[in-house]
Point group: none
Chain length 227, copies 2
């Protein structure tokens, strides 16, 4: 769940924001002054901060700088000041967006979504899904198989087949489904393809290919991957 930190000293605005955010399944923390805000940010590590610049204890820009000293969390500034200088100062201090009061809740939420989306891990992040068995290790994202300390090379078809099986770990995958997912929708009866490629996968990955422990045949039905 996305965590939002709301910082505002006007209770009615804070309340409105909190209600709207919680209704949209955000996890919300709230602070009414800068010191509390910095403390909460450090303790709770929010995914995005909504910050009113007019705080009782310190300048809003100082809060931004305080945050930027250690985090790149998106900061969405809220302010009654329309002055261009204020905006420039806040943005250059490290704010990500600047919304002037009064604001439309729809717009604010859209800007919030944009800020959160931007901060999401890049496509090439390391959200690798790794599946381990006693005999080998599969990294689906990197398309890598490790076994006995060395990489195993698989052909595209072998990968495709392994991919479908591993994504259904423990479940039986029917022959027809395997054929259609790997070879295309017009296939469904060419079970000999499966036999050939299952044999290759076993030869490359199983400790004892003729007595497979991970690529199990379910006669007449399909195959199952067990780790």
């Amino acid at each position: 769940m996305t965590r939002v930190l709301v910082v505002d000293d006007e209770p009615q605005i804070t309340r409105a924001l909190v209600i709207n955010l919680k209704a949209r399944k955000y996890d919300v923390d709230a602070a009414s002054d800068g010191a509390t805000a910095l403390q909460l940010a450090a303790a709770r590590h929010p995914d995005v901060v909504v910050l009113d610049l007019g705080l009782p204890d310190m300048d809003g820009v100082e809060v931004i700088k305080g945050l930027r000293g250690w985090t790149r969390v998106p900061i969405l500034v809220l302010s009654a000041r329309h002055s261009s200088d204020e905006k420039v100062e806040a943005l250059d201090a490290g704010a990500d967006d600047y919304v002037t009061k009064p604001f439309g809740m729809d717009e604010l939420l859209a800007r919030l979504r944009a800020a959160v989306r931007r901060a999401e891990p890049t496509g090439g992040g390391e959200d690798d899904v790794i599946v381990e068995t006693a005999a080998f290790t599969v990294d689906l994202a990197a398309k890598k198989v490790h076994r006995d300390g060395r990489d195993v090379r698989l052909t595209p078809t072998e990968w495709h087949l392994l991919d479908v099986l591993v994504r259904n770990t423990g479940r039986l995958v029917g022959q027809r489904q395997l054929l259609q997912e790997v070879w295309g929708p017009s296939y469904g009866t060419e079970t000999n393809y499966l036999r050939v490629y299952m044999a290759q996968l076993r030869r490359k990955l199983e400790a004892d290919p003729s007595h497979p422990k991970h690529f199990i045949t379910e006669p007449g039905m399909g195959y199952r991957f067990e780790r």
Copy 2:
């Protein structure tokens, strides 16, 4: 130098933006309609896009979607419409910021700086900037490759390709992804480009180009950089 793509069909606004941006040492491209914008974005790979929603040939939101199909480049929307719905639609389509006309140039530039700053490489530190292998050293930030005590010269396309591969060290990068990231979204099947440029990279960087240790071919799928 930061490259900006300005998309607007009103010449006076475009001119004002271009002049201001160039004065601040930005590298500026300009387009007056959506088709040109998409084409220029693919060809020039800007670091940020300033996009007017009111274009003659297509809906601005379509331009956003067209860009988001293949790139996360920051998009700063410019529009005469103040309606909340328009803003929400543009932001949810993938825009990063939304500024209504008339706008203050100072504010716009500050928002632009914020957008560019955000897109900078993650603050992981400087441990990722330099990648070392047994044969050579790559400095992605400085755009330098060192090998056997001397600098290796790479062409822009070679750099781009190396960049994508190194940023995905250890991971397989599909040929379609490589083509689209290096040559643009309209490419995807021209695998001969890859073959030619991979050969050049290998010739310049590998100790034994015909038996590559770092630029690994995965037949039928793509390439992988290993250090």
